[in-house]
Protein backbone atom coordinates (compact mmCIF):
# COMPACT_ATOMS: atom_id res chain seq x y z
CA UNK A 1 0.00 0.00 0.00
CA UNK A 2 1.45 3.40 -0.90
CA UNK A 3 1.94 6.05 1.80
CA UNK A 4 -0.52 8.37 0.08
CA UNK A 5 -3.35 6.66 -1.75
CA UNK A 6 -5.31 9.53 -3.15
CA UNK A 7 -5.55 13.27 -3.54
CA UNK A 8 -9.03 14.56 -4.29
CA UNK A 9 -9.90 18.00 -5.60
CA UNK A 10 -12.34 19.64 -3.20
CA UNK A 11 -12.79 23.12 -4.66
CA UNK A 12 -12.10 24.88 -7.97
CA UNK A 13 -12.59 28.49 -9.02
CA UNK A 14 -11.28 30.78 -11.74
CA UNK A 15 -7.86 32.23 -10.94
CA UNK A 16 -8.19 35.79 -9.69
CA UNK A 17 -5.02 37.05 -11.30
CA UNK A 18 -5.45 35.21 -14.58
CA UNK A 19 -8.98 34.66 -15.95
CA UNK A 20 -7.84 31.89 -18.29
CA UNK A 21 -6.66 29.71 -15.45
CA UNK A 22 -8.02 28.06 -12.33
CA UNK A 23 -7.05 27.69 -8.70
CA UNK A 24 -8.12 24.89 -6.44
CA UNK A 25 -7.57 23.08 -3.26
CA UNK A 26 -7.33 19.34 -2.85
CA UNK A 27 -7.36 16.98 0.08
CA UNK A 28 -4.78 14.24 0.54
CA UNK A 29 -6.06 10.94 1.94
CA UNK A 30 -3.64 11.24 4.89
CA UNK A 31 -1.66 13.79 6.88
CA UNK A 32 1.46 14.96 5.04
CA UNK A 33 3.23 16.84 7.87
CA UNK A 34 5.98 14.27 8.29
CA UNK A 35 7.03 14.25 4.62
CA UNK A 36 7.16 18.03 4.17
CA UNK A 37 10.83 18.45 5.28
CA UNK A 38 11.81 15.60 2.97
CA UNK A 39 9.89 17.13 0.07
CA UNK A 40 11.65 20.40 0.88
CA UNK A 41 14.94 18.58 0.32
CA UNK A 42 13.77 16.99 -2.92
CA UNK A 43 12.00 19.90 -4.61
CA UNK A 44 14.25 22.66 -5.88
CA UNK A 45 13.40 26.18 -4.81
CA UNK A 46 10.72 25.18 -2.35
CA UNK A 47 9.93 27.28 0.70
CA UNK A 48 9.27 25.43 3.90
CA UNK A 49 7.51 27.10 6.80
CA UNK A 50 7.92 24.77 9.75
CA UNK A 51 5.45 26.66 11.95
CA UNK A 52 2.56 26.17 9.51
CA UNK A 53 3.72 23.78 8.49
CA UNK A 54 3.55 24.31 4.76
CA UNK A 55 5.68 23.92 1.69
CA UNK A 56 5.36 26.27 -1.28
CA UNK A 57 6.94 25.91 -4.70
CA UNK A 58 6.40 26.58 -8.37
CA UNK A 59 5.93 23.81 -10.90
CA UNK A 60 6.54 25.60 -14.16
CA UNK A 61 3.89 28.35 -14.05
CA UNK A 62 1.80 26.82 -11.28
CA UNK A 63 2.06 27.81 -7.62
CA UNK A 64 1.60 24.89 -5.25
CA UNK A 65 1.36 24.94 -1.44
CA UNK A 66 1.22 21.72 0.52
CA UNK A 67 -0.22 21.78 4.05
CA UNK A 68 -0.60 18.63 6.14
CA UNK A 69 -4.25 18.15 5.13
CA UNK A 70 -4.64 20.40 2.15
CA UNK A 71 -2.92 21.16 -1.14
CA UNK A 72 -3.59 24.40 -2.97
CA UNK A 73 -2.67 25.15 -6.55
CA UNK A 74 -3.12 28.31 -8.53
CA UNK A 75 -2.54 29.39 -12.12
CA UNK A 76 -3.46 25.90 -13.25
CA UNK A 77 -4.51 25.57 -16.91
CA UNK A 78 -7.68 23.56 -16.35
CA UNK A 79 -8.92 20.54 -14.45
CA UNK A 80 -7.06 18.12 -16.73
CA UNK A 81 -3.86 19.96 -15.92
CA UNK A 82 -4.78 19.94 -12.22
CA UNK A 83 -5.36 16.18 -12.12
CA UNK A 84 -2.23 15.53 -14.05
CA UNK A 85 -0.13 17.63 -11.66
CA UNK A 86 -1.82 16.07 -8.62
CA UNK A 87 -0.96 12.61 -9.94
CA UNK A 88 2.62 13.72 -10.39
CA UNK A 89 2.62 15.14 -6.87
CA UNK A 90 1.16 11.96 -5.39
CA UNK A 91 3.91 9.90 -7.02
CA UNK A 92 6.54 12.37 -5.83
CA UNK A 93 5.23 12.23 -2.27
CA UNK A 94 5.14 8.43 -2.26
CA UNK A 95 8.57 8.17 -3.81
CA UNK A 96 10.00 10.67 -1.32
CA UNK A 97 8.39 8.82 1.56
CA UNK A 98 9.81 5.49 0.38
CA UNK A 99 13.30 6.98 0.10
CA UNK A 100 13.17 9.08 3.27
CA UNK A 101 15.89 6.91 4.89
CA UNK A 102 18.40 8.25 2.39
CA UNK A 103 17.19 11.87 2.27
CA UNK A 104 18.38 14.51 4.73
CA UNK A 105 15.31 16.53 5.65
CA UNK A 106 15.61 20.30 5.24
CA UNK A 107 13.76 22.51 7.70
CA UNK A 108 14.86 25.90 6.43
CA UNK A 109 13.56 28.32 3.83
CA UNK A 110 15.09 27.64 0.44
CA UNK A 111 13.15 30.01 -1.76
CA UNK A 112 11.24 33.23 -1.34
CA UNK A 113 8.67 34.64 -3.69
CA UNK A 114 9.70 37.77 -5.55
CA UNK A 115 8.09 41.16 -5.00
CA UNK A 116 6.54 40.87 -8.44
CA UNK A 117 4.87 37.59 -7.52
CA UNK A 118 3.49 39.11 -4.31
CA UNK A 119 2.30 42.10 -6.32
CA UNK A 120 0.24 39.73 -8.50
CA UNK A 121 -1.83 38.84 -5.45
CA UNK A 122 -2.48 42.41 -4.25
CA UNK A 123 -5.47 44.50 -5.40
CA UNK A 124 -3.11 46.44 -7.75
CA UNK A 125 -5.08 49.66 -7.50
CA UNK A 126 -2.22 51.76 -6.05
CA UNK A 127 -4.78 53.36 -3.73
CA UNK A 128 -2.07 54.30 -1.17
CA UNK A 129 -4.26 53.32 1.79
CA UNK A 130 -1.31 51.37 3.18
CA UNK A 131 0.88 54.46 3.08
CA UNK A 132 2.99 53.20 0.20
CA UNK A 133 2.91 54.99 -3.17
CA UNK A 134 2.20 51.77 -5.07
CA UNK A 135 1.18 48.15 -4.52
CA UNK A 136 4.59 47.08 -5.80
CA UNK A 137 6.33 49.19 -3.17
CA UNK A 138 4.09 47.58 -0.56
CA UNK A 139 5.08 44.13 -1.86
CA UNK A 140 8.78 45.00 -1.50
CA UNK A 141 8.28 46.18 2.09
CA UNK A 142 6.30 43.06 2.84
CA UNK A 143 9.19 40.92 1.66
CA UNK A 144 11.57 42.91 3.87
CA UNK A 145 9.30 42.29 6.84
CA UNK A 146 8.59 46.02 7.24
CA UNK A 147 4.89 45.62 6.52
CA UNK A 148 2.23 43.06 7.36
CA UNK A 149 -0.59 41.89 5.07
CA UNK A 150 -3.19 43.41 7.39
CA UNK A 151 -1.93 46.90 6.46
CA UNK A 152 -3.44 46.56 2.96
CA UNK A 153 -7.03 47.24 3.95
CA UNK A 154 -8.57 46.79 0.49
CA UNK A 155 -7.32 43.22 0.48
CA UNK A 156 -9.91 42.51 3.16
CA UNK A 157 -12.84 43.99 1.25
CA UNK A 158 -15.47 41.34 0.41
CA UNK A 159 -14.91 41.67 -3.34
CA UNK A 160 -11.31 40.53 -2.86
CA UNK A 161 -12.18 37.29 -1.06
CA UNK A 162 -10.67 35.05 -3.74
CA UNK A 163 -7.64 37.26 -4.16
CA UNK A 164 -7.12 37.23 -0.43
CA UNK A 165 -7.18 33.44 -0.30
CA UNK A 166 -4.54 33.27 -3.02
CA UNK A 167 -2.51 36.00 -1.35
CA UNK A 168 -2.34 34.12 1.91
CA UNK A 169 -1.32 30.94 0.16
CA UNK A 170 1.80 32.64 -1.09
CA UNK A 171 2.63 34.57 2.06
CA UNK A 172 2.04 31.44 4.14
CA UNK A 173 5.51 30.59 3.01
CA UNK A 174 6.94 33.27 5.34
CA UNK A 175 4.79 32.30 8.24
CA UNK A 176 2.02 34.91 8.07
CA UNK A 177 -1.07 33.03 9.20
CA UNK A 178 -4.27 33.81 7.34
CA UNK A 179 -6.69 35.80 9.50
CA UNK A 180 -9.93 33.97 10.35
CA UNK A 181 -12.48 33.88 7.56
CA UNK A 182 -10.05 33.80 4.67
Amino acid sequence: MPFLEDIDIAFIEPCVTDPGRVRLYAEPSRDLAEVLPYLNAVINHATYNKDGPSLTFMKEFRLITIYPRRITMSKVQNTTDAWQVLDWLKDLINDTYDRRGSITPVHGVRWRPTALQIYGWLPRTNCKACGEPTCLAFAVKLLLGERTPQECEPLFFPEHASLRRAFFEIVAAFGYPAPPGT
Binding site: A10, E13, P19, G20, Q77, N78, T79, T80, D81, W83
Partner: protein, 419 residues
Protein backbone atom coordinates in the same frame (compact mmCIF):
# COMPACT_ATOMS: atom_id res chain seq x y z
CA UNK B 1 -32.83 -25.45 -44.41
CA UNK B 2 -30.78 -28.49 -43.42
CA UNK B 3 -31.14 -30.31 -40.15
CA UNK B 4 -27.94 -28.96 -38.78
CA UNK B 5 -28.79 -25.36 -39.60
CA UNK B 6 -32.06 -25.84 -37.88
CA UNK B 7 -30.23 -27.03 -34.83
CA UNK B 8 -28.00 -23.94 -34.88
CA UNK B 9 -30.89 -21.69 -35.59
CA UNK B 10 -32.50 -22.90 -32.42
CA UNK B 11 -29.51 -23.19 -30.23
CA UNK B 12 -28.36 -19.63 -30.84
CA UNK B 13 -31.80 -18.26 -30.12
CA UNK B 14 -32.45 -20.13 -26.90
CA UNK B 15 -31.07 -18.46 -23.79
CA UNK B 16 -28.75 -20.44 -21.57
CA UNK B 17 -26.69 -22.29 -24.15
CA UNK B 18 -24.23 -23.22 -21.46
CA UNK B 19 -21.35 -24.69 -23.41
CA UNK B 20 -21.03 -21.65 -25.58
CA UNK B 21 -21.36 -19.29 -22.69
CA UNK B 22 -18.63 -21.05 -20.77
CA UNK B 23 -16.30 -20.99 -23.73
CA UNK B 24 -16.89 -17.27 -24.08
CA UNK B 25 -16.23 -16.81 -20.41
CA UNK B 26 -19.27 -14.61 -19.96
CA UNK B 27 -19.28 -15.29 -16.23
CA UNK B 28 -16.23 -13.03 -16.10
CA UNK B 29 -17.55 -9.60 -16.72
CA UNK B 30 -19.64 -9.78 -19.86
CA UNK B 31 -22.81 -7.81 -20.22
CA UNK B 32 -25.79 -9.83 -21.27
CA UNK B 33 -25.94 -13.32 -22.62
CA UNK B 34 -24.79 -13.76 -26.20
CA UNK B 35 -27.04 -16.77 -26.40
CA UNK B 36 -30.00 -14.39 -26.44
CA UNK B 37 -28.86 -12.52 -29.48
CA UNK B 38 -27.10 -14.97 -31.76
CA UNK B 39 -23.54 -14.82 -32.99
CA UNK B 40 -22.34 -11.27 -33.36
CA UNK B 41 -19.66 -10.81 -36.02
CA UNK B 42 -20.01 -7.13 -36.83
CA UNK B 43 -17.36 -5.87 -34.42
CA UNK B 44 -15.83 -3.62 -37.08
CA UNK B 45 -19.06 -1.59 -36.96
CA UNK B 46 -19.24 -1.55 -33.18
CA UNK B 47 -18.09 -4.10 -30.63
CA UNK B 48 -20.60 -6.28 -28.85
CA UNK B 49 -21.06 -7.36 -26.15
CA UNK B 50 -19.49 -4.77 -23.84
CA UNK B 51 -17.67 -5.60 -20.62
CA UNK B 52 -20.02 -5.48 -17.64
CA UNK B 53 -17.80 -2.81 -16.07
CA UNK B 54 -18.72 -0.43 -18.92
CA UNK B 55 -22.42 -0.69 -18.19
CA UNK B 56 -21.82 -0.40 -14.47
CA UNK B 57 -19.72 2.74 -14.88
CA UNK B 58 -22.41 4.38 -17.00
CA UNK B 59 -25.24 3.38 -14.69
CA UNK B 60 -23.25 4.51 -11.67
CA UNK B 61 -22.69 7.89 -13.25
CA UNK B 62 -26.36 8.29 -14.18
CA UNK B 63 -27.59 7.09 -10.82
CA UNK B 64 -25.09 8.53 -8.38
CA UNK B 65 -23.13 11.40 -9.94
CA UNK B 66 -25.16 13.01 -12.69
CA UNK B 67 -23.39 16.38 -12.67
CA UNK B 68 -21.67 17.92 -15.68
CA UNK B 69 -17.90 18.23 -15.56
CA UNK B 70 -15.76 21.37 -15.53
CA UNK B 71 -18.47 23.72 -14.38
CA UNK B 72 -19.02 23.54 -10.68
CA UNK B 73 -17.29 23.76 -7.35
CA UNK B 74 -19.56 21.27 -5.63
CA UNK B 75 -18.39 17.75 -5.04
CA UNK B 76 -20.52 15.89 -7.55
CA UNK B 77 -19.25 18.13 -10.32
CA UNK B 78 -15.69 17.51 -9.18
CA UNK B 79 -16.42 13.79 -9.20
CA UNK B 80 -17.58 14.12 -12.80
CA UNK B 81 -14.31 15.94 -13.56
CA UNK B 82 -12.39 13.09 -12.08
CA UNK B 83 -14.25 10.49 -14.13
CA UNK B 84 -13.39 12.46 -17.26
CA UNK B 85 -9.75 12.79 -16.27
CA UNK B 86 -9.36 9.11 -15.40
CA UNK B 87 -10.89 8.12 -18.75
CA UNK B 88 -8.56 10.49 -20.60
CA UNK B 89 -5.62 9.13 -18.66
CA UNK B 90 -6.55 5.53 -19.50
CA UNK B 91 -6.75 6.38 -23.22
CA UNK B 92 -3.40 8.21 -23.06
CA UNK B 93 -1.78 5.23 -21.37
CA UNK B 94 -3.20 2.76 -23.89
CA UNK B 95 -2.07 4.82 -26.88
CA UNK B 96 1.37 5.75 -25.54
CA UNK B 97 0.82 9.43 -24.77
CA UNK B 98 2.56 11.05 -21.79
CA UNK B 99 0.65 14.33 -21.61
CA UNK B 100 -2.97 13.41 -20.87
CA UNK B 101 -4.25 16.83 -21.98
CA UNK B 102 -3.31 16.08 -25.61
CA UNK B 103 -6.21 13.59 -25.80
CA UNK B 104 -9.41 15.40 -26.79
CA UNK B 105 -12.81 13.74 -26.56
CA UNK B 106 -15.22 13.87 -29.48
CA UNK B 107 -18.44 12.11 -30.46
CA UNK B 108 -16.69 9.53 -32.68
CA UNK B 109 -13.78 9.00 -35.06
CA UNK B 110 -15.70 10.87 -37.75
CA UNK B 111 -15.76 14.06 -35.67
CA UNK B 112 -12.09 13.61 -34.80
CA UNK B 113 -11.13 13.27 -38.46
CA UNK B 114 -13.23 16.32 -39.37
CA UNK B 115 -11.55 18.33 -36.62
CA UNK B 116 -8.07 17.34 -37.76
CA UNK B 117 -8.69 17.79 -41.48
CA UNK B 118 -10.77 20.98 -41.32
CA UNK B 119 -8.73 22.40 -38.45
CA UNK B 120 -5.46 22.08 -40.31
CA UNK B 121 -5.97 22.55 -44.05
CA UNK B 122 -6.05 25.98 -45.70
CA UNK B 123 -6.74 27.10 -49.27
CA UNK B 124 -4.01 25.95 -51.61
CA UNK B 125 -2.85 23.07 -49.44
CA UNK B 126 -2.24 19.60 -50.81
CA UNK B 127 -3.04 16.40 -48.96
CA UNK B 128 -1.95 12.82 -49.56
CA UNK B 129 -4.11 9.85 -48.60
CA UNK B 130 -4.57 6.22 -49.62
CA UNK B 131 -7.04 4.32 -51.76
CA UNK B 132 -8.31 2.32 -48.75
CA UNK B 133 -9.94 5.08 -46.73
CA UNK B 134 -13.30 5.11 -44.99
CA UNK B 135 -15.74 7.89 -45.88
CA UNK B 136 -14.93 9.42 -42.48
CA UNK B 137 -11.63 10.44 -44.11
CA UNK B 138 -12.67 10.71 -47.71
CA UNK B 139 -15.73 12.96 -47.33
CA UNK B 140 -14.07 15.62 -45.14
CA UNK B 141 -11.26 15.68 -47.71
CA UNK B 142 -13.74 16.10 -50.56
CA UNK B 143 -15.44 18.84 -48.54
CA UNK B 144 -12.26 20.91 -48.16
CA UNK B 145 -11.44 20.23 -51.79
CA UNK B 146 -14.68 21.97 -52.71
CA UNK B 147 -14.75 24.71 -50.08
CA UNK B 148 -11.05 25.55 -49.75
CA UNK B 149 -9.55 24.43 -53.02
CA UNK B 150 -7.43 21.82 -51.28
CA UNK B 151 -5.97 19.26 -53.70
CA UNK B 152 -5.94 15.53 -52.91
CA UNK B 153 -3.64 12.73 -54.08
CA UNK B 154 -4.52 9.12 -53.37
CA UNK B 155 -1.71 6.60 -53.05
CA UNK B 156 -2.80 3.42 -54.84
CA UNK B 157 -3.02 0.25 -52.76
CA UNK B 158 -2.78 -3.34 -54.01
CA UNK B 159 -5.84 -5.58 -54.41
CA UNK B 160 -5.37 -6.93 -50.90
CA UNK B 161 -5.32 -3.38 -49.56
CA UNK B 162 -1.59 -3.17 -48.86
CA UNK B 163 0.23 0.09 -49.36
CA UNK B 164 3.81 0.51 -50.49
CA UNK B 165 5.04 3.59 -48.57
CA UNK B 166 7.17 4.58 -51.57
CA UNK B 167 3.96 5.10 -53.55
CA UNK B 168 2.85 7.54 -50.90
CA UNK B 169 6.19 9.33 -50.74
CA UNK B 170 6.18 9.81 -54.51
CA UNK B 171 3.02 11.93 -54.25
CA UNK B 172 4.41 14.49 -51.80
CA UNK B 173 4.72 18.05 -53.05
CA UNK B 174 6.19 21.22 -51.62
CA UNK B 175 2.69 22.33 -50.55
CA UNK B 176 1.68 18.99 -49.01
CA UNK B 177 0.32 19.99 -45.64
CA UNK B 178 -1.07 16.69 -44.39
CA UNK B 179 -0.85 12.93 -44.87
CA UNK B 180 -3.97 11.01 -43.83
CA UNK B 181 -4.20 7.26 -43.64
CA UNK B 182 -6.09 4.53 -41.93
CA UNK B 183 -4.19 2.24 -39.55
CA UNK B 184 -6.19 -0.76 -40.69
CA UNK B 185 -8.86 -1.07 -43.36
CA UNK B 186 -12.40 -1.65 -42.18
CA UNK B 187 -13.02 -3.71 -45.34
CA UNK B 188 -10.01 -6.03 -45.63
CA UNK B 189 -8.45 -5.59 -42.20
CA UNK B 190 -5.13 -4.78 -43.89
CA UNK B 191 -2.72 -3.13 -41.45
CA UNK B 192 -1.04 -0.16 -43.09
CA UNK B 193 2.67 0.74 -42.81
CA UNK B 194 2.13 3.55 -40.33
CA UNK B 195 5.66 3.50 -38.90
CA UNK B 196 7.17 3.93 -42.38
CA UNK B 197 4.68 6.66 -43.25
CA UNK B 198 5.53 8.42 -39.98
CA UNK B 199 9.24 8.34 -40.86
CA UNK B 200 8.51 9.80 -44.29
CA UNK B 201 6.24 12.47 -42.84
CA UNK B 202 8.73 13.43 -40.14
CA UNK B 203 11.61 13.72 -42.63
CA UNK B 204 9.54 16.26 -44.59
CA UNK B 205 7.98 17.98 -41.62
CA UNK B 206 4.48 17.09 -42.79
CA UNK B 207 1.90 16.18 -40.10
CA UNK B 208 0.56 12.63 -40.30
CA UNK B 209 -3.04 11.91 -39.33
CA UNK B 210 -3.81 8.26 -38.60
CA UNK B 211 -7.35 6.85 -38.44
CA UNK B 212 -7.19 4.21 -35.72
CA UNK B 213 -10.91 3.39 -35.71
CA UNK B 214 -10.18 -0.27 -36.49
CA UNK B 215 -7.03 -0.69 -34.40
CA UNK B 216 -7.34 1.14 -31.07
CA UNK B 217 -7.71 -1.57 -28.44
CA UNK B 218 -7.04 -4.52 -30.74
CA UNK B 219 -3.64 -3.70 -32.23
CA UNK B 220 -0.71 -2.02 -30.43
CA UNK B 221 -0.32 1.72 -31.06
CA UNK B 222 2.51 3.67 -29.49
CA UNK B 223 1.89 7.24 -30.57
CA UNK B 224 4.92 8.93 -29.10
CA UNK B 225 7.36 6.20 -30.03
CA UNK B 226 6.12 6.32 -33.64
CA UNK B 227 6.06 10.11 -33.54
CA UNK B 228 2.48 10.40 -34.84
CA UNK B 229 1.04 13.92 -35.03
CA UNK B 230 -2.70 13.34 -35.05
CA UNK B 231 -4.52 10.14 -34.16
CA UNK B 232 -8.28 9.71 -34.46
CA UNK B 233 -9.95 6.91 -32.55
CA UNK B 234 -13.46 5.82 -31.86
CA UNK B 235 -14.68 4.67 -28.45
CA UNK B 236 -17.20 2.02 -29.36
CA UNK B 237 -15.17 -0.57 -31.26
CA UNK B 238 -11.95 -2.03 -29.85
CA UNK B 239 -12.01 0.33 -26.88
CA UNK B 240 -15.25 -1.37 -25.75
CA UNK B 241 -17.05 1.85 -24.84
CA UNK B 242 -20.51 3.07 -25.84
CA UNK B 243 -21.43 4.58 -29.20
CA UNK B 244 -21.19 8.37 -29.40
CA UNK B 245 -17.67 8.48 -27.98
CA UNK B 246 -14.38 9.06 -29.73
CA UNK B 247 -11.32 11.20 -29.54
CA UNK B 248 -8.32 12.80 -31.17
CA UNK B 249 -4.71 12.90 -30.05
CA UNK B 250 -3.01 16.17 -31.03
CA UNK B 251 0.77 16.41 -30.76
CA UNK B 252 2.09 19.29 -28.66
CA UNK B 253 3.01 22.28 -30.80
CA UNK B 254 0.44 21.48 -33.48
CA UNK B 255 -2.51 23.86 -33.40
CA UNK B 256 -5.85 23.24 -35.06
CA UNK B 257 -8.79 25.57 -35.57
CA UNK B 258 -11.58 24.24 -33.33
CA UNK B 259 -14.65 22.85 -35.11
CA UNK B 260 -16.90 24.48 -32.52
CA UNK B 261 -16.72 27.32 -30.03
CA UNK B 262 -18.62 27.66 -26.80
CA UNK B 263 -18.56 27.14 -23.06
CA UNK B 264 -15.71 25.25 -21.49
CA UNK B 265 -16.28 25.94 -17.80
CA UNK B 266 -13.83 27.76 -15.57
CA UNK B 267 -12.58 30.35 -18.03
CA UNK B 268 -15.83 32.14 -18.91
CA UNK B 269 -14.14 35.54 -18.89
CA UNK B 270 -12.23 34.79 -22.06
CA UNK B 271 -13.87 35.95 -25.28
CA UNK B 272 -12.37 33.20 -27.38
CA UNK B 273 -11.82 29.49 -27.01
CA UNK B 274 -8.99 28.90 -24.51
CA UNK B 275 -5.62 27.88 -25.91
CA UNK B 276 -5.26 25.05 -23.42
CA UNK B 277 -6.02 21.51 -24.35
CA UNK B 278 -8.29 19.69 -24.00
CA UNK B 279 -10.71 22.59 -23.32
CA UNK B 280 -9.88 24.27 -26.62
CA UNK B 281 -11.62 21.47 -28.54
CA UNK B 282 -14.29 20.46 -26.06
CA UNK B 283 -16.83 23.28 -26.13
CA UNK B 284 -20.23 22.39 -24.75
CA UNK B 285 -21.30 19.97 -22.04
CA UNK B 286 -19.36 16.74 -22.40
CA UNK B 287 -20.92 13.29 -22.76
CA UNK B 288 -19.79 12.40 -19.24
CA UNK B 289 -21.89 9.23 -19.17
CA UNK B 290 -20.28 8.06 -22.40
CA UNK B 291 -16.86 9.06 -21.12
CA UNK B 292 -17.47 7.04 -17.95
CA UNK B 293 -18.26 4.01 -20.13
CA UNK B 294 -15.28 4.60 -22.39
CA UNK B 295 -12.96 4.89 -19.38
CA UNK B 296 -14.20 1.55 -18.07
CA UNK B 297 -13.82 -0.01 -21.53
CA UNK B 298 -10.24 1.19 -21.91
CA UNK B 299 -9.37 0.01 -18.41
CA UNK B 300 -10.77 -3.39 -19.39
CA UNK B 301 -8.50 -3.40 -22.44
CA UNK B 302 -5.49 -2.35 -20.34
CA UNK B 303 -6.18 -5.12 -17.84
CA UNK B 304 -6.62 -7.80 -20.49
CA UNK B 305 -3.68 -6.40 -22.45
CA UNK B 306 -3.75 -5.40 -26.13
CA UNK B 307 -1.21 -8.11 -26.95
CA UNK B 308 -3.46 -10.76 -25.47
CA UNK B 309 -6.52 -9.38 -27.23
CA UNK B 310 -4.64 -9.28 -30.51
CA UNK B 311 -3.38 -12.83 -29.99
CA UNK B 312 -6.83 -14.18 -29.30
CA UNK B 313 -8.35 -12.39 -32.28
CA UNK B 314 -5.50 -13.54 -34.51
CA UNK B 315 -6.13 -17.14 -33.44
CA UNK B 316 -9.83 -16.84 -34.27
CA UNK B 317 -8.99 -15.16 -37.57
CA UNK B 318 -6.54 -17.95 -38.46
CA UNK B 319 -9.29 -20.48 -37.79
CA UNK B 320 -11.77 -18.51 -39.87
CA UNK B 321 -9.38 -18.08 -42.81
CA UNK B 322 -8.42 -21.76 -42.73
CA UNK B 323 -12.08 -22.73 -42.71
CA UNK B 324 -12.96 -20.36 -45.53
CA UNK B 325 -10.07 -21.60 -47.69
CA UNK B 326 -11.73 -25.04 -47.78
CA UNK B 327 -15.01 -23.75 -49.19
CA UNK B 328 -15.29 -23.85 -52.97
CA UNK B 329 -17.00 -20.91 -54.60
CA UNK B 330 -15.80 -18.23 -52.15
CA UNK B 331 -13.82 -15.15 -52.98
CA UNK B 332 -11.97 -13.94 -49.92
CA UNK B 333 -10.37 -10.48 -50.06
CA UNK B 334 -7.47 -8.96 -48.15
CA UNK B 335 -4.09 -10.34 -47.06
CA UNK B 336 -5.58 -13.55 -45.58
CA UNK B 337 -2.79 -13.49 -43.03
CA UNK B 338 -3.44 -12.72 -39.34
CA UNK B 339 0.03 -11.18 -39.03
CA UNK B 340 -0.87 -8.54 -41.61
CA UNK B 341 -4.46 -7.72 -40.75
CA UNK B 342 -6.92 -7.19 -37.93
CA UNK B 343 -9.81 -9.63 -37.49
CA UNK B 344 -11.86 -8.32 -40.41
CA UNK B 345 -12.50 -10.39 -43.54
CA UNK B 346 -14.56 -9.50 -46.58
CA UNK B 347 -15.75 -12.11 -49.03
CA UNK B 348 -18.32 -12.99 -51.65
CA UNK B 349 -20.10 -16.24 -52.41
CA UNK B 350 -19.98 -16.72 -56.16
CA UNK B 351 -23.42 -16.30 -57.65
CA UNK B 352 -25.08 -14.91 -54.50
CA UNK B 353 -25.45 -11.17 -53.82
CA UNK B 354 -23.66 -10.04 -50.66
CA UNK B 355 -26.88 -8.74 -49.11
CA UNK B 356 -28.53 -12.09 -49.58
CA UNK B 357 -25.64 -13.93 -47.95
CA UNK B 358 -25.76 -11.59 -44.94
CA UNK B 359 -29.49 -11.88 -44.65
CA UNK B 360 -29.41 -15.69 -44.82
CA UNK B 361 -26.62 -15.83 -42.24
CA UNK B 362 -28.82 -13.84 -39.94
CA UNK B 363 -32.18 -15.47 -40.54
CA UNK B 364 -31.08 -19.07 -40.95
CA UNK B 365 -28.03 -19.22 -38.74
CA UNK B 366 -28.32 -16.32 -36.28
CA UNK B 367 -24.99 -14.90 -37.43
CA UNK B 368 -24.71 -11.12 -37.74
CA UNK B 369 -22.38 -9.75 -40.40
CA UNK B 370 -22.54 -6.72 -42.66
CA UNK B 371 -22.97 -6.57 -46.42
CA UNK B 372 -22.45 -3.70 -48.83
CA UNK B 373 -19.74 -1.08 -49.19
CA UNK B 374 -19.08 -0.48 -45.48
CA UNK B 375 -18.87 3.31 -45.92
CA UNK B 376 -15.66 2.76 -47.85
CA UNK B 377 -16.25 2.95 -51.60
CA UNK B 378 -12.55 3.78 -52.16
CA UNK B 379 -11.54 0.52 -50.52
CA UNK B 380 -14.09 -1.49 -52.48
CA UNK B 381 -12.89 0.09 -55.72
CA UNK B 382 -9.35 -0.95 -54.79
CA UNK B 383 -10.26 -4.57 -54.11
CA UNK B 384 -12.56 -4.74 -57.14
CA UNK B 385 -15.94 -4.98 -55.41
CA UNK B 386 -17.31 -1.48 -56.00
CA UNK B 387 -20.23 -2.89 -58.00
CA UNK B 388 -21.36 -5.77 -55.87
CA UNK B 389 -19.98 -4.94 -52.46
CA UNK B 390 -18.99 -7.75 -50.11
CA UNK B 391 -19.92 -9.62 -46.96
CA UNK B 392 -17.80 -8.49 -44.04
CA UNK B 393 -17.14 -10.78 -41.09
CA UNK B 394 -15.49 -8.95 -38.19
CA UNK B 395 -14.52 -10.89 -35.10
CA UNK B 396 -14.21 -9.55 -31.59
CA UNK B 397 -12.54 -10.47 -28.34
CA UNK B 398 -15.70 -12.21 -27.13
CA UNK B 399 -16.17 -14.47 -30.14
CA UNK B 400 -15.32 -18.13 -29.66
CA UNK B 401 -13.88 -20.90 -31.80
CA UNK B 402 -17.36 -22.37 -31.79
CA UNK B 403 -18.73 -19.14 -33.29
CA UNK B 404 -16.10 -19.26 -36.02
CA UNK B 405 -16.84 -22.91 -36.80
CA UNK B 406 -20.55 -22.21 -37.06
CA UNK B 407 -19.87 -19.29 -39.38
CA UNK B 408 -17.65 -21.42 -41.63
CA UNK B 409 -20.24 -24.20 -41.75
CA UNK B 410 -22.99 -21.72 -42.51
CA UNK B 411 -21.04 -20.19 -45.39
CA UNK B 412 -20.22 -23.66 -46.68
CA UNK B 413 -23.93 -24.41 -46.67
CA UNK B 414 -24.79 -21.23 -48.55
CA UNK B 415 -21.99 -21.80 -51.08
CA UNK B 416 -23.06 -25.40 -51.60
CA UNK B 417 -26.63 -24.39 -52.24
CA UNK B 418 -25.48 -21.76 -54.75
CA UNK B 419 -22.95 -23.87 -56.57
Amino acid sequence: MTDSTERWGKSVCVPGDEDREQERGSGGGLAGSMADVGIYMDNAATSFPKPEAVIEAMADFMRNVGASSGRGAYRKALEADKIVFRARQAVARLLGVADVSRVVFTANATESLNLAIKGLLSPGDHVVTTSMEHNAVWRPLKAVERTRGVTISQAPCAHDGTLDPADMEALLRPNTRLIVMTHASNVTGTVMPVAEAAAIARARGIPLLVDCAQTAGVHPIDIERLGLDLVAFTGHKGLMGPTGMGGLYIRGGLDLVPLKDGGTGGDSMLEHQPEWLPDRFEAGTLNVCGIAGLGAGVRFVLEEGVERIREKEAGLLRRLLDGLSEIPGLEVYGPRDPARQVAVVSLNVRGVPAEEVASRLDREYGIMVRAGLHCAPCAHRTIGTIQRGAVRISLGYFNTEGDVDRCVEALAGIARAAG
